[in-house]
């Protein structure tokens, strides 16, 4: 039974503008498959992005789609969702978009536990603007604004979002699209704030410049630098350095604590008063 991914794609906009081997396409690919596996109503689904190469993703998706300002997608999405909680709201964001300029909206979205599904395209670099370092660029890496090696530390975003209050937190990688699809599906179905970081490759502005190589070498790099979350937990601290756990890292199922559900209770309390 083949998946009809074109139900969810704006075919006339394809081929997309991403570079050869850019992982963003694989994420998009996995996402439409994940959506297909849920029973989400496409007419009731909104996809929101910020600015960046990743920010172009909604343009290829056949839903109500919104390309906002750099970093603010979650804030827009919060308005869309709260104003109409019936909608499934998906946020697609880059590592720069979502964790640099958009970091505050990310943690506050988590804190409110509002029912958004946020997929962060972590290619560890500002792709669109030509390769400046992002908060996810590893220490030591070369970028156009870190010509002598990046001295910043990178975030552990799954830990950050968990600690900020997200109730579904996971990490995937483009080298493992089956897992990505599964994580996206679970994230979409979770009632509450879902955050799925996805390790992703920007061959043009990261891989080649850091001597990792092109797309395939970057996928190999991913394989070498990731382990299943279950295994990660058992690893000794010193081995964890530079290794990313993949899979569902944290989840808490409590639909009643979701933001719009809580708001509805206030409204209902007035409705009751009226009776």
């Amino acid at each position: 039974m083949a998946v009809d991914i074109y139900k969810y794609l704006r075919e006339d906009k394809l081929p997309h503008i991403w570079c050869p081997g850019c992982g963003h396409g694989t994420i998009l690919n996995s996402l439409v498959r994940a959506i297909d596996q849920t029973d989400i109503d496409p007419d009731k689904t909104v996809v929101v992005s910020g600015i960046g190469c990743s920010g172009r993703a909604p343009g290829y998706l056949k839903f109500d789609t919104l390309h906002t300002t750099h970093g603010r997608a979650i804030a827009f999405a919060t308005g869309i969702k709260l104003a109409n909680p019936e909608l499934n709201v998906i946020v697609l964001t880059g590592d720069g978009d979502g964790s640099a300029i958009g970091g505050n909206h990310l943690i506050h979205g988590c804190r409110r536990n509002i029912d958004l599904t946020v997929i962060l395209f972590n290619n560890q670099i500002y792709g669109m603007t030509g390769g400046q370092y992002s908060p996810m660029t590893p220490t030591g890496a070369v970028a156009t604004t870190s010509p002598y090696g990046n001295i910043d530390q990178d975030f552990d975003l799954v830990d950050l979002t968990r600690s900020a209050g997200a109730t579904f937190v996971a990490r995937g990688a483009t080298y493992n699209p089956r897992q990505m699809t599964k994580l996206y599906k679970e994230g979409l179905e979770h009632k509450g704030f879902s955050f799925i970081e996805t390790l992703d490759q920007c061959p043009v502005n990261y891989g080649r410049k850091n001597n990792i190589g092109g797309p395939t070498e970057m996928l190999d790099w991913q394989k070498e630098h990731t382990v299943p979350a279950s295994k990660w937990e058992k690893m000794p601290e010193e081995e964890k350095e530079g290794i990313f756990p993949l899979g569902v890292i944290h989840r808490k199922d409590d639909p009643e604590s979701e933001y719009t559900a809580r708001y509805q209770q206030i409204i209902d309390s007035f409705a009751k008063e009226d009776e």
Binding site: P20, G21, G23, H24, N29, G214, L219
Partner: protein
């Protein structure tokens, strides 16, 4: 994926020659041609869908051979 499924070039014009599909194919079915991906040896294809799922450009599709 079902037994007997095989890869096809569903949107071969979209291929950007990134090589990912070639890399993830367990049985060396695919190769990079001058301008785009090509099927080197369809018989080897086990229909695993690795290529379809990994391709960033929606080029490949694994379908029933009879289709």
């Amino acid at each position: 994926m079902a037994k007997g499924d095989k890869v096809t070039l569903a949107n071969s014009g979209w291929c950007k020659r990134c090589g990912i599909c070639v890399h993830v194919c367990p049985t060396d079915v695919l190769k990079l041609g001058q301008d785009r991906v090509e099927i080197d040896d369809i018989d080897k294809c086990i229909g695993c869908e690795n290529c379809e799922l990994s391709c960033p450009d929606f080029v490949l599709k694994v379908v029933k051979v009879n289709e």
